[in-house]
């Protein structure tokens, strides 16, 4: 079975649409989303509605959680938007865009997902099994992986959060960071996701990069007044 793991869409709808088109073109039979659905970009409603409509299994990322923690009325959110800069302002802006159905979607997201594909155990988290703000970088060592896993022993560990995609095998575990669909930070402007082929108990992973119209996102951010 070919599975596409997406992560860190961050309200970037053109990137999400392009990622899914790319994954389907490559024969992905299942698509999962490793958190940080919203935050940063201009299309939180579109991203949520699309994931809900396509019934893409997703987990909650730290941005999603922090947005839900920002429980304020409209007036207070607008105050934050006016006075604050950076991440808090963006989250306030995002919170103002969401209606009840979108909030309910984010609230209903689990912190992690685990499932089996035949004998292969798959665990998907946002940051690491330790929490949604813990990072897993390419420099991960065997010892730090085991420390992060604790008692857990998946065959395939999928994460996001760092926006730096990689695949490696350590201590018998395939570790995949799916990178970021919507906000690339490694110098390559293209989005990234991971493709995993799971067959007969064996796992093969690779990172796929894809292009999307960045200018559309930029102009939509300006048009919708997303704080930078």
């Amino acid at each position: 079975m070919r599975i596409a793991f997406l992560s860190d869409v961050h309200s970037n709808f053109p990137a999400l649409a392009a990622a899914l088109a790319s994954a389907r073109k490559r024969g992905a039979e299942k698509v999962l989303m490793a958190g940080d659905v919203v935050g940063v970009g201009p299309h939180p409603v579109e991203v949520i509605r699309f994931l809900a409509g396509e019934q893409v299994p997703a987990i909650q990322g730290n941005h999603d959680r922090q947005l839900l923690d920002l429980t304020r009325g409209e007036k207070a959110l607008r105050k934050i938007l006016k006075r604050k800069r950076g991440k808090k302002a963006v989250l306030a802006w995002t919170a103002l865009q969401l209606g009840e159905p979108e909030r309910a979607f984010l609230t209903g997201l689990p912190a992690s997902v685990s499932f089996d594909v035949g004998p292969v155990r798959v665990l998907m988290v946002h940051g690491s099994p330790k929490g949604d703000t813990d990072y897993i970088y390419p420099s991960l060592t065997r010892w730090s992986l085991l420390a992060k896993l604790g008692e857990l022993r998946p065959d395939l560990l999928v994460c996001g959060h760092s926006h730096i995609p990689f695949c490696k095998r350590l201590a018998g575990v395939h570790v995949v960071n799916a990178g970021s669909v919507g906000v690339s930070v490694d110098g390559d402007p293209r989005g990234a996701y991971a493709l995993a082929d799971v067959e007969n108990g064996r796992v093969r992973c690779r990172i796929v990069r894809f292009s999307y119209p960045v200018d559309r996102v930029q102009s939509d951010m300006a048009a919708r007044g997303v704080p930078s």
Partner: protein, 524 residues
């Protein structure tokens, strides 16, 4: 539908089905589909008053509809007016306040089939989805037809952001081409018509860094554009302003062909000028009679004329006007006319073959404007009130040349030229009226010679001549007052442009002129 909106250009029915399938995948529910049809005509004046303001006037079987594209509304609503009320335009505001009595002309006909569907998301109604199939036709040329399809979403008033969300999803998932949809503009574009008022295409805008050859090509192409844009209206005699605009364009073209000596091929320029002169005579014949007619209508309302006199005055010109119009139509339908337009529009053609001087638009513009300023200041020295009609005519030509030159380069020297433009136009209007007055006196003289010597009629004719002469005297007095002020402003203009005139090698220090530099009395 109000204003420009984001819409999707559809190729055909498959696109509609794709959109509906996509919406269904996204969780939207479509219901209550229905279709309505409407036909309407877009109206505007020859000068494009509404188009320039971003307003659209459509008339459909007695309903007047304003389509507002920009923020402001007319001062009064127009609901309930009939087509004949609006087209006669006797007492309807605010159309009259905008058009100032200019005729309303049909520019585009549109027949729309609007298929609408109610769109809901999670059981909440979010808005209406529209599929427009529009057939456009030109009212002046029934062979010019085209059709197109658009889809757009009209959100509920309480859910304005829904349009933005839906448009983003359709754009990025459906791969549909997004357009700013406004039917009049879409139809004009599809049929390759000229918009009302014939605004110049952007590619003919002058840029400061344009070479002299490019400047000449653009300016001549603009005149060809104006001529072409007004031809159909002039041939069909829809409005006197069509003839006027072509005439102005021919004058500017001839002026430019002479002024751009050294930049255009001299032999071809001379040949084109001669050909345009023939056309200009035909245009002038029609235009002079139109101006006379309008002038006489105004004068006749001021005198106590016997019954039938007004008709006789106006009947004097009718057969001449008809003959002049026939002659003009022949010219405008001739191969020669098409060749003129082609050559003036062809920037790579033989007319523009010479390499041209190494000047840019600013340097060329400064040089030509200052030269025209010198000409006007030279010709207007003295007491204007004592000038003979022939000298006033010469001054009129000089002012016209200056005004044309300023208009050519107003994008390059926007602030400097804006200062004088209004005053130049005022002087030129006065001088133009004086010249028209000479023509009117001549025609009235003909009427006097052919009159049947009824005393009442002769008295009325005398009154008419007197009114005409009084107006000319008034205009002469206005010119006499205006010209000294204009001379001052022109001096300022010449100074402002001097730094850009690279061929002016005189030092900037005015004291240098006293130390032996050749005097330039016209710019002091």
């Amino acid at each position: 539908m109000e204003g420009m909106m984001q819409a999707f250009s559809l190729v055909g029915a498959p696109d509609e089905e794709r959109i509906l399938a996509l919406l269904s995948r996204l969780g939207y529910v479509v219901a209550d589909a229905c279709s309505t049809s409407a036909s309407y005509t877009y109206f505007d004046t020859q000068g494009g008053v509404f188009w320039k303001l971003g307003l659209r006037l459509t008339l459909s079987r007695g309903d007047v509809v304003w389509q507002i594209l920009k923020g402001h509304l007319p001062e009064a609503t127009l609901a309930g007016l009939s087509v004949s009320d609006v087209l006669d335009g006797d007492s309807i505001e605010p159309i009259h306040s905008l058009t100032r009595g200019q005729r309303l002309l049909p520019y585009l006909e549109a027949a729309v089939v609007d298929r609408t569907m109610r769109l809901s998301f999670r059981e909440a109604w979010v808005g209406t989805l529209h599929f427009h199939f529009v057939e456009f036709q030109s009212p002046l040329d029934r062979e010019q037809k085209a059709d197109c399809r658009f889809a757009f979403f009209e959100p509920r008033f309480e859910a304005p952001l829904e349009a933005s969300h839906l448009n983003t999803m359709l754009r990025d998932l459906g791969g549909l081409a997004t357009v700013e949809y406004e039917p009049f503009a879409a139809g004009i574009d599809l049929l390759d018509l000229t918009p009302p008022g014939a605004p110049f295409p952007r590619e003919l805008a002058l840029l400061p860094a344009d070479t002299a050859a490019t400047v000449a090509a653009k300016i001549l192409a603009r005149q060809a554009y104006q001529m072409r844009a007004n031809t159909a209206g002039a041939v069909q005699d829809l409005d006197p302003e069509f003839v006027h605009d072509i005439r102005v364009a021919t004058r500017r073209a001839r002026f430019a062909l002479r002024r751009f000596r050294g930049i255009v091929d001299p032999d071809r320029a001379r040949a084109r000028r001669d050909e345009i002169a023939v056309l200009a005579r035909s245009l002038g014949s029609v235009r002079d009679l139109d101006v006379f007619t309008e002038r006489m209508k105004a004068h006749l309302s001021r005198i106590d004329a016997p019954e039938g006199f007004s008709k006789r005055v106006l009947a004097l010109v009718a057969p001449r006007r008809e003959a002049a119009q026939e002659d003009l139509v022949r010219e405008l339908r001739s191969e020669q006319y098409l060749k003129i337009l082609e050559e003036l529009s062809d920037a790579r053609g033989p007319l523009f073959a010479p390499p041209g001087p190494a000047e840019d638009a600013r340097s060329l513009g400064a040089r030509l404007v200052r030269r025209a300023v010198r000409g006007v200041r030279r010709d207007t020295t003295g007491d204007v009130r004592t000038f003979a009609p022939e000298r006033l005519h010469r001054i009129r030509i000089a002012f016209k040349g200056l005004r044309y030159t300023c208009d050519f380069f107003k994008e390059v020297f926007a602030d400097e030229i804006a200062e004088v433009s209004r005053h130049l136009a005022a002087v030129q209007d006065c001088l133009g009226d004086l010249q028209d007055g000479v023509t009117a006196l001549h025609l009235l003289g003909e009427l006097r010679d052919t009159s049947n010597s009824k005393p009442a009629e002769l008295l009325a004719l005398g009154a008419l001549l007197q009114v005409q002469r009084e107006e000319m005297a008034r205009r002469t007095a206005e010119v006499a007052l205006e010209i000294p002020q204009v001379r001052q402003r022109l001096r300022k203009l010449g100074r402002a442009l001097r730094p850009f005139d690279v061929r002016d090698e005189r030092p900037a220090d005015p004291g240098a002129s006293r130390r032996g530099w050749p005097p330039d009395a016209d710019l002091r």
